[in-house]
Point group: C2
Chain length 696, copies 2
């Protein structure tokens, strides 16, 4: 060993010898070295693979957490500035009013103006559009980087307008996340040169939706589940794992940044609660939780109905339509002026805890203490400033009591929220719904606490009612009913870092969902319907005789096939006469045996190439060659086809499961028609409206 | 109105008049009455619909909760009896030994004997078989009522053997639940006369798996997620909602029964914990949680590998094979004798907390207090009886310390658990894995607590380490790695009713899963492989060049088609020469245009009917009529077909997604081959082993 070292260190050795030495040198512990090198190589091969999905998912999670944190940070500063300004102007009511209204108006008009100017697609939440994209419809402009910029800036301003306009950030975050995922996917494709794999794009988008929710709330599990429920009707467990990984990274970094920013000592949930874990609720309270679920379910139906009506009304009303079309920013400004005037603390705002931010509203509602007990033991004067340790005081108006404020809040915010959702700027509609539900729950909880001041059973040990638990259940039930999801139950637990009430909350959410799903489409489906985006309605099998409907009854028989024997003129005539996206290719026009299908744009490209070729040949006076569509165009083999006897249900399931746009119908090998999403949609609508299906 | 009343009450009115009156009577508030009647009718129409799924899901949930509770109740009584007997024999070591060993031996031999006698399919956990059933393979004997009885009785006895044999109940419960679901499904079919809908059966089975887990632990959300992850590779959101509903009903009733039985004051989680919610863990501890995840992941690989090896060894070893084949009960008895002798508290058992039941083991491990601190302040004598308030004392051997017992437990239970899983009786393998993981976590946690007695940062406020949190993370990570699921993270939170540690636990589970999924098939997949049940392996796309493989390379071209022009003899020759389950039907043997497919048993039935017909006609000396297979047999239309250029990945996805058993391959309308699960499995195995695919 020592000899080897001496030789290596000797400067007199020539280059050749040194190379030889490097090959044959007797290094210490050759076996161990080999093993270690082998291990390192193994780790390198398995961990550091360029283009591996996990890296991109990790990057996606971290990026979203950074954006979420930066956005929150900015918004908090902006809100603080607004509050500081408002408090400085204590002496003049007029100045206070001006500061209260002008600030949010400036924010919303800028948000609307900027986002509409840069990219008109950036308005709204973005979830309905993403849902449409995931069904296979191409809406490319929704996933551009320009849109991303507009959305981030616009959202920051929308949120900075605070609880006056009462909007959140979940939807836009899902949208932002999917835009980043698309961009990362493009980088991945460039790096790995794996241009073929379209599946990856889809998988990334699904994971992105989960990351969006997770990085908003620091809630990875419910983020994944929420995105699953909202986004798709079928789910691969593989994608669920990816979503989990990315969402955990996102949520972890998001909470980590809060610790680094000294907001918290360590990683804990977003909203701290102190519910009694030993005895969170008494058994008979379960019934009240179920009643709360029923209330939330019914109210959500009314909300969804009114919301759709108002959006429809705005699209019909000539004056508003003109205003919105010409000056979107002015419309936003006017709406904000109305909302801000109402929420001004000097006027009606004092009856609806309007000085609290969105986060403070939720914190105050999740308070484990009963406000009834608290207000008996405190002096309830209107304070000049918001006391961060006693947020509940904002709800306790000296003459109006907190029952009054809660009821007034419910009444006013109902239409104010619906009005706010019509503003064409980037904003989410989940957080306000969550808060609204928490208010419903809190009201019920406080009423129960007043009726049973010592708890329901009250034998021996006192187990007083915890109204915060009801607020939790109300938030989960109402938001779950509006979005048609069950995972909101888990979301509120991840938000509060405890799950003492998990069974009653689940029951409330189930009941509310049952009612809402029975009578109304979800918020996102409703938006898709109002915005006239393509979608496939669900079959409500029980009411209508849908089980007996077969493909034969609704397929489109008006079909034109490309024959293998077609010449240039035939093909040209076919393509000019019909504008289907896909043409079936048959062996010959008599047998009609389906061979495959060809995209319209492929055929058009082929025709153009042929014409040029023809011109060139004519110029050179060459004999015209045989035109062969079949060699130049890519003919897709037929993987899926329907039979005329296939049931509507099965066809629907296939379109849904395989994200198809069209399918040919063949009977005994012969093509007899085709079914696209349009035909399916039409037959389902006909059935729902009681009409019998009409063949197209 | 008064007149009406008088008339109605008058006895002199004739029957005719009374009928007339009933029709025309002027009742009070006709409009309100009509509305109320309308409402009631509406509720009746919408709620009380015979055969509605929700009722069956509800019944399923309640039934499973009742079974779970009754089983737990019986097992607790049996275990108490055993403990009482053991404690009564305090004076004689020998008698204690006999009582310690004979009781579990009696239980396991009875369990094995009874279950094997009634239904040999009732052994083991049942999850692997259910997983196979959900891929579309018919294993009917696994879902019979006879099997249900054998499983329930056998499981009760297995569990009554206690922590000696260290087995649980999750797997059998999933199995029991699916058997009940099948039975309920049959009732539903009878009631609604909806014989067609095979989908419902599948949907009920998926929900049943969720109910099984939920009613074991009272954990509905993780029950649903666990069943989704374990059971299938794709799931419909619709089924997820059904699962949620049924699982919530099951979990709620299960916890409700505990309250009615005065075990608890109100509905709370199964394992109470008192973790510090304000500061559950310090930021640097996250790294230790990740290290714990790595340890659990690696150990799970070793465990899975050894487990598969032992099961394989037993199937090869001539002596054991003979013993198991002849006398399964004797084999169980011998194994139990060995295990019970080792765990006898007078011998090695004192070093592995063997006096605790499974539930007590988990409770003691989730304790929020540090055993290091506790053992300093207490006298650690070996107690005659188990102290239910200080279960941790069982772990603290006076001379061996708790580090020794934890390590010894890990070492011994490792092979004892693997040995126990070879006993052919109904028992679950999830709970022991969960406990084993908790022990790993606890050990790591206690070590960390010793190294950092005042917490890691220890500036100002003391935030001591909570070893219970590590136990939680270890349990989730190890059980998650063994079963390849992430939902165990949620399960431990639902078990303990809090989620203070949710991010570090998720990280640990993710890391452990990444390692385990990389190197080993899951426990259930491993069992499927060892038991040689049909299954479709996953494609590990990165290692092998699977993206370039097309159907052409591995399809089975040895195909025989039924021609429309075939006569009786031709068909008979075909059917006798080949025993495919499905035959393709072509237009004629030259064109080979695929028209449809026909089941073998349909053809056989047809041939039998034809022969009888023929005999009858010959007897009557009638002219032989034309044989028409096409009118008498049901020819299934071809909905899915592959093209030779379809990629392996896409074909695999279709088989997986659509639960298919076979698909025909057609090129330009002509059938050229077929692919079944066998071909797919073979090509994937070939690729994994580095062989190039061979056409069959």
């Amino acid at each position: 060993m020592s000899e080897v070292w001496r030789q290596e260190n000797s400067p007199t050795l020539g280059a050749e010898k040194s190379i030889l030495l490097q090959q044959n040198v007797r290094r210490p512990w050759p076996k161990t070295r080999k093993n270690v090198t082998g291990c390192l190589g193994f780790v390198k091969r398995h961990l550091f693979r360029v283009g591996d999905d996990w890296y991109f998912l990790f990057i996606l999670g971290v990026l979203m957490a950074l954006i979420s944190f930066a956005l929150d940070f900015t918004v908090v500063k902006l809100l603080k500035a607004h509050r500081w300004l408002f408090e400085q102007l204590e002496d003049s009511n007029l100045l206070q009013y001006i500061s209260w209204t002008v600030y949010p108006i400036a924010m919303t008009t800028f948000s609307t103006g900027f986002s509409q100017c840069v990219s008109p697609q950036s308005g709204g939440s973005g979830i309905p559009e993403l849902k449409t994209i995931l069904t296979g419809v191409l809406l490319e402009e929704y996933l551009t980087m320009k849109n991303l910029g507009a959305k981030v800036v616009g959202l920051t301003c929308s949120l900075a307008a605070g609880s006056t306009i009462f909007l959140g950030k979940v939807g836009p975050f899902v949208h932002i996340s999917s835009m980043i995922a698309t961009y990362l996917g493009r980088i991945r494709t460039t790096v790995t040169r794996d241009y073929e794999n379209k599946n990856k794009q889809y998988e990334m988008l699904v994971a992105a939706a989960a990351v969006g929710v997770a990085s908003c709330f620091g809630a990875p599990i419910s983020g994944v589940l929420f995105s699953v429920e909202v986004m798709s009707s079928h789910f691969a467990v593989r994608n669920y794992w990816r979503g989990f990984f990315a969402a955990t990274c996102g949520a972890f970094v998001f909470r980590l940044l809060a610790v680094f920013n000294s907001e918290q000592e360590t990683i804990i949930a977003l909203f701290k609660t102190k519910f009694k874990v030993d005895f969170p609720f008494d058994l008979p309270e379960t019934f009240i939780f179920i009643v709360l679920g029923i209330i939330c379910g019914l109210l959500s139906c009314v909300y969804l109905c009114c919301q759709r009506w108002l959006v429809g009304y705005i699209r019909r009303n000539a004056f508003i339509l003109k205003l919105v079309a010409a000056e979107k920013a002015v419309y936003s400004g006017l709406v904000t002026l109305l909302l801000a005037s109402i929420t001004f603390p000097g006027s009606l705002g004092q009856f609806m805890a309007c000085r609290l931010t969105m986060k403070e509203l939720l914190s105050s509602l999740f308070d484990h203490r009963s406000w009834g007990v608290l207000s008996q033991n405190a002096t309830l004067d209107i304070q000049a400033r918001v006391d961060p340790d006693n947020l509940w005081i904002e709800w306790c108006h000296p003459s109006f009591t907190f029952f009054g404020t809660l009821l007034f809040f419910l009444f006013m915010k109902f239409w104010m929220l619906i009005l706010a959702t019509t503003m064409p700027m980037p904003a989410g509609y989940f957080m306000p719904v969550l808060i609204y539900g928490a208010v419903i729950g809190r009201l019920v909880g406080e009423v129960v606490a007043v009726i049973f001041p010592n708890g329901i059973k009250s034998e021996g040990v006192l187990n007083p009612i915890i109204p915060g638990g009801y607020a939790l259940a109300g938030a989960a039930a109402f938001s779950g009913a509006v979005t048609h999801t069950l995972s909101t139950a888990l979301l509120v637990f991840e938000l509060t870092g405890q799950m003492a009430h998990f069974l009653p909350v689940l029951l409330a959410v189930l009941v509310a969902n049952a009612i809402a799903q029975k009578f109304q489409p979800s918020f996102y489906d409703g938006t898709i319907i109002v915005k006239k985006l393509p979608y496939l309605p669900k079959i409500r099998s029980v009411d209508i005789g849908s089980y007996n409907v077969t493909v034969e009854e609704f397929m489109n028989t008006n079909i034109m096939c490309l024959d293998k024997s077609f010449n240039y003129t035939d093909i040209l005539r076919l393509v000019t006469s019909r504008s289907d996206a896909v043409y079936p290719v048959v062996e010959n026009s008599e047998s009609m045996v389906l061979v495959g299908s060809v995209q319209r744009n492929e055929v058009v490209k082929f025709l153009q190439a042929q014409r040029e070729e023809k011109c060139r040949k004519e110029q050179l006076q060459l004999k015209e060659g045989d035109i062969n569509l079949w060699e130049k165009c890519h003919i897709d083999p037929v993987t899926f086809q329907l039979s005329p006897s296939t049931s509507l249900h099965q066809a629907h399931k296939l379109f849904d499961l395989l994200v198809l746009q069209h399918m040919f119908v063949s009977s005994a090998g012969k093509v007899v028609g085709f079914v696209s999403r349009n035909e399916l949609k039409k037959v389902i609508e006909d059935l729902t409206n009681g009409r019998s299906p009409v063949k197209m």
